[in-house]
């Protein structure tokens, strides 16, 4: 059947179709090449913007001294400990508050006060109480992610369609069973996506805390570079943050697929 309609257009384009991942790689390579040549041509002083090759050199310098992993793991440990502490208290608390209107009313005013506070606003107080210690870093992450995680979890338990709850009760579920078999798994996808957002925020928090006062970590690496006019070290610190957070995000996504196998895509 001859067809003059638009459906042969994709066929025509097929020959030109590129793998989009190739496009992305070319885009990245192009960006780095242009950046490098601008610096090499002397258009911008390396003090203001070092070339990518200088950042790589700095990476090698610190790598040989074993400092790269040292700083990454310092920051990562702070994030994970603070975040795990906040999550392991905030998620069960949120589920409890989601199930009880009375307890929610008790906790509501406090949570409402805590939620709008940016985690960075806790830095002065935490330094006063705990000094420049690891505990201070954990506490910053904890305070930054606790209230939002509680509220997120409450919302997640509320998001379950009431018809599903009726169906479970109609099939003979007790209150305890309803909690375990329906409310908990039903709110899990939203809780996990909330945790994913919170994990990103926890990183921001730790870096800020390290920029203010720390003796190690990626934030410290940046501040240290700034102090000695080592701009390449500043940029290296930034690049390492970006790569670390991306890696953790990918890892989190694969964990997500394992614990929520019923979600598609």
């Amino acid at each position: 059947m001859p067809s003059l309609s638009g459906n042969n257009v994709p066929g025509l384009l097929k020959g030109f179709k590129l793998d989009l991942r190739v496009v992305s790689v070319i885009s990245l390579v192009l960006f780095i090449t242009i950046w490098e040549s601008i610096i090499r041509a002397g258009l911008v002083a390396p003090l203001f913007l070092p070339a990518p090759s200088m950042i790589v050199n700095d990476f090698m310098r610190l790598y040989e001294r074993g400092e790269i992993w040292f700083h990454i793991s310092a920051s990562a440990r702070r994030v994970l400990i603070g975040f795990a502490l906040a999550g392991s208290i905030a998620v069960p608390l949120g589920i409890l508050l989601g199930a009880s209107k009375f307890l929610k009313a008790v906790a509501d005013p406090l949570l409402s006060i805590l939620r709008p506070l940016p985690s960075m606003s806790w830095i002065p107080l935490s330094l006063l109480w705990l000094g420049i210690t690891e505990t201070q870093k954990y506490s910053i992450v904890f305070m930054g992610s606790f209230a939002p995680t509680v509220l997120y979890t409450i919302e997640a338990t509320r998001s379950i369609d009431p018809v599903i709850i009726r169906a479970a009760l109609n099939l003979g579920a007790s209150r305890a069973r309803l909690m375990r078999e329906v409310i908990l798994p039903g709110s899990l996808p939203m809780i996990v996506s909330g945790l994913k957002v919170m994990l990103g925020i926890a990183w921001t928090t730790v870096i800020s805390a390290e920029l203010v006062a720390a003796d190690k970590g990626l934030g410290y690496l940046i501040m240290d570079g700034r102090e000695f006019f080592r701009t390449e070290q500043v940029l290296l610190g930034m690049a390492l943050i970006s790569i670390t957070v991306m890696t953790i995000d990918i890892a989190f996504r694969s964990v997500e697929k394992k614990i929520i196998p019923w979600m598609e895509g």
Binding site: V163, A167, L171, P185, G186, W262
Partner: protein, 268 residues
């Protein structure tokens, strides 16, 4: 009457919001006998769902009562198995775990409840999909799972709230015929809600028509079409008689509502 399973006496349900009171049901009386297949027809928004929800114990009456074997319904009663229009499946459970949910709640052992669940999965024609998640199924398959889940729990009464309304016409017909078969083979009493007169006549042993705002039961009609039934029953001469009888009542109601609301496009 020992034969009576569900008795609804002068049931009134008023929903109160801050601004207004809505009378969803007014003085509804309904008696359903053992093994009856009663289909309740009414336009959208006439309170059918409120009635079935009150019988299931999801809603409390404002006044009047619902009796189950002569005793008032005070809460959700697993003797009345509900099938919802929106399927209400547990998305995080596989098909077989959905179907055996009620049995699990009863404390039945894994092996036993798996065997039983498998029977009902076979019954609704879903063999091979035991380990699929609801998100991987079509609407018709989801409603089959929902039917199997309710049937596996072996309720004495089945309440179906527009279960096939969201399905395409062909899937709907297949499932209607399956429901007829299930009804013929099981010993269940069924209350089924729909806005389709054709569906009501195809399935029921008795049709009742509900009025709109406030919902009242306006007409009872014995459906004496011959059994066993399938879609061909529509060719029976008696079918047209019954249909026009129901339609005249429904039409009056739709007109009334349409007059009140301006443009109500309820189809029947």
């Amino acid at each position: 009457m020992a034969n009576t399973v569900i008795q609804v006496n002068d049931l009134t349900k008023i929903f109160e919001t801050k601004k207004e009171k809505v009378t969803a049901l007014q003085d509804v009386n309904l008696t359903i006998k053992n093994r009856e297949f009663v289909v309740l027809v009414g336009a959208s928004g006439c309170g059918k769902t409120t009635l079935i929800n009150t019988i299931a114990g999801f809603e409390k009456p404002t006044s009047g009562e619902v009796l189950l074997h002569g005793e008032p319904v005070t809460g959700i009663d697993p003797r009345c198995g509900m099938v919802f229009q929106q399927y209400a499946l547990f998305d995080w459970k596989t098909v077989i775990n959905n179907v055996d949910f009620g049995l699990k709640m009863k404390g039945m052992k894994l092996k036993e409840r798996r065997e039983l669940a498998q029977q009902y999965i076979d019954m609704v024609g879903l063999q091979g999909f035991e380990n699929a998640y609801p998100s991987q199924l079509s609407g018709g398959m989801k409603q089959r799972v929902s039917l199997a889940r309710t049937l596996a729990n072996n309720p004495e009464i089945m309440l179906l709230d527009e279960p096939f309304a969201a399905l395409d016409a062909m899937t709907r017909q297949v499932l209607q015929e399956e429901l007829i078969r299930i009804y013929s083979e099981s010993q269940k009493t069924i209350l089924f809600i729909t806005h389709s007169i054709d569906e009501a006549l195809l399935l029921s042993t008795r049709v009742s028509v509900m009025t709109s705002r406030p919902g009242k039961i306006k007409q009872f009609l014995e459906n004496d079409l011959p059994w066993p039934r399938d879609a061909d029953v529509q060719l029976h001469p008696r079918y047209q008689e019954l249909k026009s009888e129901v339609w005249s009542t429904v039409q009056e109601e739709v007109m009334k509502t349409a007059g009140l609301l301006g443009a109500d496009k309820d189809k029947c």
